[in-house]
Protein backbone atom coordinates (compact mmCIF):
# COMPACT_ATOMS: atom_id res chain seq x y z
CA UNK A 1 0.00 0.00 0.00
CA UNK A 2 1.16 3.47 -0.79
CA UNK A 3 2.81 5.63 1.82
CA UNK A 4 1.79 9.17 0.97
CA UNK A 5 4.52 11.75 1.50
CA UNK A 6 5.57 15.21 0.36
CA UNK A 7 8.98 16.30 -0.91
CA UNK A 8 9.93 19.91 -1.51
CA UNK A 9 12.88 20.55 -3.82
CA UNK A 10 14.66 23.60 -2.40
CA UNK A 11 16.54 24.06 -5.69
CA UNK A 12 13.23 24.69 -7.43
CA UNK A 13 11.03 26.45 -4.89
CA UNK A 14 10.72 30.12 -5.84
CA UNK A 15 8.66 31.19 -2.80
CA UNK A 16 5.65 32.01 -4.92
CA UNK A 17 3.30 30.78 -2.15
CA UNK A 18 1.08 29.23 -4.78
CA UNK A 19 0.84 26.05 -2.69
CA UNK A 20 -0.28 28.07 0.33
CA UNK A 21 -2.94 29.87 -1.69
CA UNK A 22 -4.11 26.69 -3.41
CA UNK A 23 -4.48 24.91 -0.07
CA UNK A 24 -6.41 27.75 1.50
CA UNK A 25 -8.72 28.07 -1.48
CA UNK A 26 -9.30 24.38 -2.10
CA UNK A 27 -10.06 23.58 1.53
CA UNK A 28 -11.58 26.95 2.43
CA UNK A 29 -9.20 27.23 5.36
CA UNK A 30 -10.28 30.14 7.58
CA UNK A 31 -8.32 33.35 8.00
CA UNK A 32 -5.61 32.88 10.63
CA UNK A 33 -4.90 29.24 9.85
CA UNK A 34 -2.30 28.13 7.32
CA UNK A 35 -2.08 24.43 6.74
CA UNK A 36 0.95 25.04 4.52
CA UNK A 37 3.65 27.69 4.73
CA UNK A 38 6.73 28.59 2.73
CA UNK A 39 9.82 29.06 4.89
CA UNK A 40 12.79 30.99 3.45
CA UNK A 41 16.29 30.99 4.86
CA UNK A 42 19.10 33.39 4.01
CA UNK A 43 16.50 35.78 2.65
CA UNK A 44 18.03 38.33 0.30
CA UNK A 45 21.52 36.80 0.23
CA UNK A 46 22.29 36.18 -3.41
CA UNK A 47 23.01 32.54 -4.14
CA UNK A 48 22.20 31.37 -0.64
CA UNK A 49 18.47 31.99 -0.41
CA UNK A 50 16.49 28.77 -0.17
CA UNK A 51 12.79 28.24 0.31
CA UNK A 52 10.88 25.17 1.37
CA UNK A 53 7.16 24.53 1.52
CA UNK A 54 6.20 22.99 4.84
CA UNK A 55 3.02 21.31 6.07
CA UNK A 56 2.17 18.14 7.94
CA UNK A 57 4.72 15.53 6.85
CA UNK A 58 2.43 12.63 7.82
CA UNK A 59 5.20 11.10 9.91
CA UNK A 60 5.49 7.34 10.11
CA UNK A 61 5.79 7.55 13.89
CA UNK A 62 3.98 10.81 14.43
CA UNK A 63 4.69 12.61 17.74
CA UNK A 64 1.28 14.32 17.60
CA UNK A 65 -0.35 10.90 17.78
CA UNK A 66 1.85 9.94 20.71
CA UNK A 67 1.03 12.97 22.87
CA UNK A 68 -2.68 13.45 22.14
CA UNK A 69 -4.48 12.98 25.48
CA UNK A 70 -7.80 12.07 23.85
CA UNK A 71 -6.29 9.89 21.10
CA UNK A 72 -8.06 11.69 18.27
CA UNK A 73 -5.43 10.85 15.63
CA UNK A 74 -5.42 7.89 13.30
CA UNK A 75 -3.39 6.78 10.32
CA UNK A 76 -5.00 5.57 7.14
CA UNK A 77 -3.80 2.60 5.11
CA UNK A 78 -2.19 5.13 2.77
CA UNK A 79 -0.01 6.42 5.61
CA UNK A 80 -1.87 9.71 5.99
CA UNK A 81 -2.12 11.04 9.56
CA UNK A 82 -5.63 12.36 10.18
CA UNK A 83 -7.61 13.40 13.23
CA UNK A 84 -11.22 13.41 14.37
CA UNK A 85 -12.37 16.92 15.23
CA UNK A 86 -15.33 15.50 17.17
CA UNK A 87 -12.84 14.08 19.68
CA UNK A 88 -10.19 16.84 19.65
CA UNK A 89 -10.36 19.14 22.69
CA UNK A 90 -7.99 21.78 21.30
CA UNK A 91 -5.44 21.38 24.09
CA UNK A 92 -2.49 22.16 21.80
CA UNK A 93 -0.20 19.35 22.93
CA UNK A 94 0.19 18.26 19.30
CA UNK A 95 1.45 21.70 18.29
CA UNK A 96 4.20 21.49 20.90
CA UNK A 97 5.14 17.97 19.81
CA UNK A 98 5.17 18.60 16.06
CA UNK A 99 8.63 19.58 14.74
CA UNK A 100 7.08 21.17 11.63
CA UNK A 101 4.47 23.42 13.27
CA UNK A 102 1.73 21.64 11.35
CA UNK A 103 -1.11 21.72 13.92
CA UNK A 104 -2.92 25.05 13.69
CA UNK A 105 -5.54 26.62 15.91
CA UNK A 106 -8.02 29.33 15.09
CA UNK A 107 -7.99 32.04 17.73
CA UNK A 108 -11.56 32.54 18.87
CA UNK A 109 -12.22 35.65 20.92
CA UNK A 110 -10.72 36.75 24.23
CA UNK A 111 -8.63 34.92 26.83
CA UNK A 112 -6.77 32.86 24.25
CA UNK A 113 -9.77 30.68 23.50
CA UNK A 114 -8.98 28.62 20.46
CA UNK A 115 -10.60 26.18 18.13
CA UNK A 116 -10.03 22.50 17.62
CA UNK A 117 -6.84 21.60 15.83
CA UNK A 118 -6.63 21.98 12.07
CA UNK A 119 -3.87 20.63 9.85
CA UNK A 120 -3.02 19.35 6.40
CA UNK A 121 -5.03 16.22 5.61
CA UNK A 122 -3.10 15.33 2.44
CA UNK A 123 -6.40 16.36 0.82
CA UNK A 124 -8.05 13.22 2.17
CA UNK A 125 -10.68 14.67 4.51
CA UNK A 126 -11.58 12.97 7.75
CA UNK A 127 -13.82 10.31 9.20
CA UNK A 128 -16.98 11.78 7.67
CA UNK A 129 -18.46 10.32 4.49
CA UNK A 130 -16.05 10.75 1.57
CA UNK A 131 -16.83 13.88 -0.41
CA UNK A 132 -19.73 14.91 1.82
CA UNK A 133 -20.57 18.48 2.81
CA UNK A 134 -19.93 17.61 6.47
CA UNK A 135 -16.45 16.37 5.63
CA UNK A 136 -15.69 19.46 3.57
CA UNK A 137 -16.83 21.85 6.29
CA UNK A 138 -14.67 20.17 8.94
CA UNK A 139 -11.61 19.01 7.02
CA UNK A 140 -11.76 20.36 3.48
CA UNK A 141 -11.68 18.48 0.21
CA UNK A 142 -11.14 14.73 -0.10
CA UNK A 143 -9.19 14.69 -3.35
CA UNK A 144 -7.69 11.24 -2.77
CA UNK A 145 -11.18 9.75 -2.85
CA UNK A 146 -11.74 11.60 -6.13
CA UNK A 147 -8.65 9.95 -7.62
CA UNK A 148 -6.49 13.06 -7.29
CA UNK A 149 -3.44 14.14 -5.32
CA UNK A 150 -3.13 17.15 -3.00
CA UNK A 151 -3.68 20.37 -4.93
CA UNK A 152 -0.61 22.12 -3.47
CA UNK A 153 1.63 19.55 -5.14
CA UNK A 154 -0.35 19.16 -8.32
CA UNK A 155 -0.48 22.87 -9.09
CA UNK A 156 3.12 23.74 -8.10
CA UNK A 157 4.38 25.70 -11.09
CA UNK A 158 8.02 24.65 -10.80
CA UNK A 159 7.15 21.18 -9.51
CA UNK A 160 9.27 21.90 -6.46
CA UNK A 161 6.61 20.37 -4.27
CA UNK A 162 5.70 16.82 -5.20
CA UNK A 163 3.38 14.58 -3.25
CA UNK A 164 2.19 11.02 -3.48
CA UNK A 165 3.49 7.51 -3.01
CA UNK A 166 6.90 7.75 -1.35
CA UNK A 167 8.55 5.31 -3.75
CA UNK A 168 7.44 7.27 -6.80
CA UNK A 169 8.18 10.77 -5.56
CA UNK A 170 11.59 9.75 -4.20
CA UNK A 171 12.47 8.27 -7.60
CA UNK A 172 11.31 11.48 -9.34
CA UNK A 173 13.45 13.55 -7.01
CA UNK A 174 16.49 11.27 -7.33
CA UNK A 175 16.29 11.52 -11.11
CA UNK A 176 16.26 15.31 -10.87
CA UNK A 177 19.38 15.32 -8.74
CA UNK A 178 21.10 12.98 -11.19
CA UNK A 179 20.15 15.19 -14.15
CA UNK A 180 21.41 18.31 -12.40
CA UNK A 181 24.69 16.56 -11.62
CA UNK A 182 25.09 15.38 -15.22
CA UNK A 183 24.44 18.92 -16.46
CA UNK A 184 27.17 20.28 -14.22
CA UNK A 185 24.70 22.26 -12.11
CA UNK A 186 24.52 22.40 -8.35
CA UNK A 187 22.67 19.18 -7.61
CA UNK A 188 21.30 20.05 -4.21
CA UNK A 189 20.68 17.64 -1.39
CA UNK A 190 19.97 14.08 -2.32
CA UNK A 191 17.47 11.98 -0.46
CA UNK A 192 19.05 10.25 2.47
CA UNK A 193 17.51 8.09 5.15
CA UNK A 194 14.30 7.75 3.17
CA UNK A 195 13.96 3.99 3.60
CA UNK A 196 15.29 4.25 7.15
CA UNK A 197 12.58 6.73 8.08
CA UNK A 198 9.73 5.15 6.17
CA UNK A 199 10.82 1.51 5.88
CA UNK A 200 11.58 -0.50 2.77
CA UNK A 201 9.16 -0.73 -0.13
CA UNK A 202 5.93 -2.55 0.71
CA UNK A 203 6.41 -2.42 4.45
CA UNK A 204 3.33 -1.50 6.47
CA UNK A 205 3.14 1.84 8.25
CA UNK A 206 4.51 1.52 11.79
CA UNK A 207 2.24 2.02 14.74
CA UNK A 208 3.13 4.47 17.52
CA UNK A 209 5.33 3.11 20.29
CA UNK A 210 3.12 1.58 23.02
CA UNK A 211 3.17 3.43 26.32
CA UNK A 212 4.51 0.41 28.21
CA UNK A 213 7.64 0.52 26.04
CA UNK A 214 8.36 4.14 26.92
CA UNK A 215 10.24 4.58 30.22
CA UNK A 216 8.17 6.53 32.69
CA UNK A 217 5.02 6.64 30.55
CA UNK A 218 1.70 5.58 31.98
CA UNK A 219 -0.24 3.01 29.99
Amino acid sequence: MARMKFICDTERCIECNGCVTACKNENEVPWGVNRRRVVTVNDGIIGQEKSVSVACMHCSDAPCMAVCPVDCFYRTDEGVVLHDKDICIGCGYCSFACPFGAPQFLSKGAFGVRSKMDKCTFCSGGPEVNGSVAEFEKYGRNRLAEGKLPLCAEMCSTKALIGGDSEIISSIYSKRVAVRESNGKYAGSNIFGWSTAYGPSGSPAPTPTPADKIPGAKS
Partner: protein, 78 residues
Protein backbone atom coordinates in the same frame (compact mmCIF):
# COMPACT_ATOMS: atom_id res chain seq x y z
CA UNK B 1 -33.15 21.25 70.27
CA UNK B 2 -31.45 24.24 68.71
CA UNK B 3 -28.28 22.18 68.32
CA UNK B 4 -30.27 19.52 66.51
CA UNK B 5 -31.48 22.04 63.93
CA UNK B 6 -27.92 23.14 63.39
CA UNK B 7 -26.74 19.55 62.97
CA UNK B 8 -29.61 18.90 60.60
CA UNK B 9 -28.64 21.96 58.56
CA UNK B 10 -25.04 20.85 58.34
CA UNK B 11 -26.17 17.41 57.23
CA UNK B 12 -28.42 18.90 54.55
CA UNK B 13 -25.66 21.12 53.20
CA UNK B 14 -23.22 18.21 53.24
CA UNK B 15 -25.79 16.08 51.45
CA UNK B 16 -26.25 18.70 48.74
CA UNK B 17 -22.51 19.10 48.31
CA UNK B 18 -21.88 15.38 48.22
CA UNK B 19 -24.66 14.84 45.73
CA UNK B 20 -22.16 15.66 42.98
CA UNK B 21 -20.26 12.51 43.93
CA UNK B 22 -23.09 10.43 42.54
CA UNK B 23 -22.91 12.14 39.14
CA UNK B 24 -21.81 9.79 36.36
CA UNK B 25 -18.43 10.84 34.95
CA UNK B 26 -18.71 12.83 31.74
CA UNK B 27 -15.39 12.43 29.97
CA UNK B 28 -14.10 12.53 26.45
CA UNK B 29 -14.00 8.75 26.43
CA UNK B 30 -17.64 8.79 25.40
CA UNK B 31 -16.48 10.07 22.03
CA UNK B 32 -14.98 7.15 20.21
CA UNK B 33 -13.07 6.95 16.99
CA UNK B 34 -15.09 6.31 13.92
CA UNK B 35 -13.78 4.16 11.11
CA UNK B 36 -12.75 6.15 8.06
CA UNK B 37 -13.80 5.02 4.62
CA UNK B 38 -10.86 4.19 2.37
CA UNK B 39 -10.28 6.65 -0.48
CA UNK B 40 -10.50 3.92 -3.11
CA UNK B 41 -14.20 3.66 -2.27
CA UNK B 42 -14.66 6.95 -4.10
CA UNK B 43 -16.37 10.20 -3.19
CA UNK B 44 -20.06 10.92 -3.38
CA UNK B 45 -19.75 14.10 -5.42
CA UNK B 46 -19.33 15.26 -8.97
CA UNK B 47 -15.56 15.75 -8.89
CA UNK B 48 -14.45 12.16 -9.43
CA UNK B 49 -11.80 11.53 -12.03
CA UNK B 50 -12.43 8.96 -14.71
CA UNK B 51 -10.39 5.86 -15.46
CA UNK B 52 -10.89 3.88 -12.26
CA UNK B 53 -13.69 2.00 -10.53
CA UNK B 54 -14.77 3.13 -7.04
CA UNK B 55 -14.39 0.22 -4.63
CA UNK B 56 -11.58 -1.39 -6.62
CA UNK B 57 -8.35 -0.71 -4.76
CA UNK B 58 -6.17 -1.88 -7.64
CA UNK B 59 -7.68 0.49 -10.19
CA UNK B 60 -7.51 3.39 -7.73
CA UNK B 61 -3.85 2.71 -7.02
CA UNK B 62 -3.12 2.52 -10.72
CA UNK B 63 -4.89 5.83 -11.38
CA UNK B 64 -3.18 7.57 -8.46
CA UNK B 65 0.26 6.25 -9.42
CA UNK B 66 -0.26 7.38 -13.01
CA UNK B 67 -1.22 10.82 -11.78
CA UNK B 68 1.74 10.72 -9.44
CA UNK B 69 4.14 10.06 -12.31
CA UNK B 70 2.76 13.12 -14.11
CA UNK B 71 4.60 15.23 -11.56
CA UNK B 72 7.82 14.27 -13.32
CA UNK B 73 8.34 16.60 -16.26
CA UNK B 74 10.94 14.18 -17.66
CA UNK B 75 8.06 11.80 -18.36
CA UNK B 76 5.55 14.44 -19.44
CA UNK B 77 7.83 16.34 -21.83
CA UNK B 78 9.44 14.09 -24.42
Amino acid sequence: MKLNFKTLGVCLVAGVLLAACSEPPVIAATASKRPDVAPYMGADNGFMTKGWTPGDRGSWMEAINKRNQNQSEYLRVK
